[in-house]
């Protein structure tokens, strides 16, 4: 969508661009899309500042008649999640303790797997990879019972190492796929040169490939942090009572079979819980783009 034929791409600065129909078209599309994306957030925010009486009246788009911050305070520290009414904050550190190893280890393993699969290609590894990818299609709950038995037999059930192991298992297909496809786009000459220089399997990985993978590590981190932070079912079953993540409290606040539902508190709690992944997106966005442009995810 160039301004005029012949003008070089870099010379276009955002401010000094001629408003051609094409340019207007771009902005129109982006703004319309932004409205579509923001509408649910608007409703969530607006609902979270209303009183239940107002919500019962059913006008979801209306701005609150009387703004109240109570739902937010209740969500964080007073909402009932069982006998205890301490809001969702209780699980925050548990979630952090689960997320960190469950992001670092899967990324490392994914990179290792991708590296071995794309450069070394030992006999039979392609078949193994194919089966791994098929595994990505199995719904989590189907694997629940066998996994419970397996983990119980090695004494890892209901523990922090247990939940981290489970996260590693479930994220392996995607992580491996990400890195394998990434490494496939790196020229084989680089690898061959390193081999000639006398590099072994681990040396080449640690000193050459891993440093080159920064852009993909960032993408993988975004996906994994979001996935693990928002995970509910795995943490619920495998983490053990003392390590239950924040999503369990969130679900206890939101869901109830025959109890009353406080929609304003639910919305506030959801937004609060999503703050961590959102912060990660916001801050990693810089590296994400800059790193990509510099490190080149070659097409």
């Amino acid at each position: 969508m160039s301004a005029a034929p012949g003008r070089p791409r870099q010379a276009r600065a955002p401010g000094g661009v001629r408003l051609t129909p094409a340019r207007i078209g771009i902005y129109a599309f982006l703004l319309t899309a932004a409205l579509f994306f923001l509408l649910p957030l608007y409703i969530m925010l607006v609902t979270s500042f209303k009183t239940m009486d107002e919500i019962r009246l059913g006008n979801i788009f209306a701005l609150p008649l009387s703004v109240t911050l109570e739902p937010w305070m209740i969500a964080w520290s007073q909402a009932c999640t069982g006998v205890n009414c301490n809001g969702i904050r209780g699980g925050f550190w548990n979630s952090v303790l689960i997320v960190i190893p469950s992001t670092v280890l899967p990324i490392l393993l994914g990179a290792l797997n991708g590296y071995a699969l794309s450069f070394w290609k030992p006999r039979g590894s392609q078949a193994l990879f194919a089966i791994l990818m098929i595994g990505a299609f199995i719904p989590v709950q189907v694997m629940m019972y066998p996994l419970v038995r397996i983990l119980a037999s090695v004494g890892l059930f209901s523990s922090l190492p247990g939940i981290v192991t489970v996260h590693i298992i479930f994220s392996m297909p995607v992580m491996t796929l990400l890195f394998r496809n990434y490494y496939l786009s790196i020229p084989q000459e680089l690898f061959k040169a390193a081999r000639i220089d006398g590099g072994g399997f681990w040396r080449i990985f640690a000193q050459l490939m891993l440093p080159m993978s920064t852009p993909m590590i960032i993408v993988a981190a975004i996906m994994q942090v979001t996935g693990v932070w928002n995970d509910y079912i795995l943490g619920l079953v495998f983490a053990g009572r003392d390590n239950l993540p924040m999503t369990v409290q969130l679900n206890n606040v939101i869901n109830t079979t025959t109890g009353e539902r406080l929609y304003n508190v639910n919305m506030a709690a959801t937004i609060l819980t999503s703050m961590v992944p959102l912060a990660i997106y916001f801050f990693s966005g810089r590296w994400f783009v800059r790193g990509i442009a510099a490190g080149a995810v070659k097409g």
């Binding site: 239940m52 009486d53 019962r56 009246l57 059913g58 909402a79 009932c80 999640t81 069982g82 006998v83 205890n84 009414c85 629940m144 019972y145 419970v148 038995r149 983990l151 119980a152 059930f157 209901s158 619920l236 079953v237 053990g240 009572r241 369990v248 679900n251 206890n252 606040v253 939101i254 869901n255 109830t256 079979t257 025959t258 109890g259 009353e260 539902r261 406080l262």
Partner: protein, 408 residues
């Protein structure tokens, strides 16, 4: 001498410490909302007063909580007690020998003397008591908004099914939503159960649900039940599919709808909006002087363990949860009625008092579908009812499908 005194003091101190930590009970349940929390606190506080330590593991949604309980039993890390419904849900784990029984407490406290027969038959399996029942809910109460009735010119509470249809017509004419409903399978199940109880009657109900008698299921009386059920669908507003039951109750609270068929937990929503029974809304248990009381409820089971402290905790839980005072306090907060037929009901609200009176009459006790059907059969029945509610299926086909589903 001083040394002796010191040693004595030390031992007494240690003894006090050992006593301070009473039997620890980790309890899995699904009571997570504010009202439910206030109710389960009655149990945890009573248990603590009796000397125990309550460790709370609340997990939202019954199906989720039960599956976690089962997974933990399989994984070797069972809770001390886990909540189930008064139903066949826990028969499989009894069969696998994964539960401790509480015969000692049941016999000591005389459960067979004050538990209604329907409940007794559920918790007593092969002569042993495997579950401690803690409350009775009735899912088929008929609620009505007094302001909506006034607007539609309905002066008296409907006393029969025909009068109810007449009232619904009047509400429709007044421009209100006659029947507030949430289009979710379990809610349709409730409406059906209400029709089976009120239009079909106690005998037909038992023949269909408990005996699964083919003649009854394919008969005219049951057909009338099904058509009444389908007829109610025409009184429901277009926005009903998928709606949460609370949002349907909200329609009554704001006077936009006239009636709702829902369990007694609905009182919690009314209370939250500061509405009182008898004043802002009315409750009808059923039509006729012999209307049945459909029994649904919650129980606690005790996973198998040979740890002496855990067994002590299980016994203490079972006895505390069924003690009369605790029963009344719990039900008061929960909206249910006590599971004991011998308690003083003066502290309960008028709807609950009405319910308790009916429930005490043995001839009017009926179990909810899940009391007689296993989860698979109940689920298949739900599927057929939901399909019938939402589509135009000939009623004879529905009868045939139900026959096939219940035969499993």
């Amino acid at each position: 001498m001083k040394l002796k005194l010191l040693t004595l003091a030390l031992f007494m101190g240690l003894g006090a410490l050992a006593h301070a930590a009473g039997p620890k009970a980790e309890v899995i349940h699904w009571w997570t909302s504010g009202g439910e929390s206030a109710a389960v606190k009655q149990f945890s506080q009573a248990y603590t007063t009796a000397g125990g330590v309550w460790v709370d593991t609340a997990i939202a949604l019954g199906e989720q909580a039960r599956s976690v309980a089962i997974n933990r039993i399989i994984g070797g890390n069972p809770p001390t007690a886990a909540q189930f419904n008064t139903s066949k849900q826990f028969l499989d784990i009894v069969e696998q020998g994964m539960l401790n029984n509480v015969d000692e407490i049941a016999l000591r406290d005389g459960w067979d003397k004050f538990l209604p027969e329907t409940v007794l038959n559920v918790v007593r399996v092969k002569g042993h008591f495997y579950a401690a029942p803690v409350n009775i809910h009735m899912p088929t109460w008929i609620w009505y908004s007094k302001s909506a009735f006034k607007k539609a010119g309905i002066t008296a509470e409907p006393k029969s099914m025909d009068e109810m249809f007449a009232a619904l017509d009047k509400l429709k004419a007044a421009g209100l939503i006659p029947l507030a409903h949430g289009g979710q399978p379990w809610q349709e199940n409730i409406v059906f159960t209400a029709m089976l109880a009120n239009v079909g009657g106690t005998e037909l109900y038992l023949k269909v649900m408990r005996d699964r008698d083919p003649a009854a299921i394919q008969g005219d009386a049951f057909r009338k039940v099904l058509t009444s059920y389908k007829r109610l669908q025409s009184y429901v507003d277009k926005g009903a599919p998928g709606r949460n039951w609370n949002d349907a109750t909200a329609l009554l609270i704001t006077g936009k709808a006239g009636m709702q068929i829902m369990g007694d937990w609905a009182k919690g929503e009314f209370a939250l909006a500061n509405q009182a029974p008898g004043k802002d809304y009315g409750c009808i248990a059923g039509f006729g002087a012999r209307s049945p009381y459909v029994i649904q409820g919650d129980v606690f089971v005790f996973p198998k363990t040979s740890d002496a402290e855990a067994i002590k905790a299980q016994k203490l839980l079972a006895s505390v949860m069924l003690s009369p005072a605790v029963q009344v306090e719990f039900s008061n907060k929960k909206g249910s009625i006590p599971v004991r037929t011998d308690v003083d009901s003066s502290r309960l609200d008028i709807c609950a008092q009405q319910g308790l009176t009916i429930m005490k009459d043995k001839s009017r006790q009926l179990g909810n579908g899940e009391v007689y059907l296993n989860p698979d059969q109940n689920g298949s029945l739900s599927d057929i009812l939901t399909a019938y509610w939402n589509k135009n299926v000939p009623v004879e086909k529905v009868q045939k499908d139900i026959l096939a589903a219940l035969k499993r």
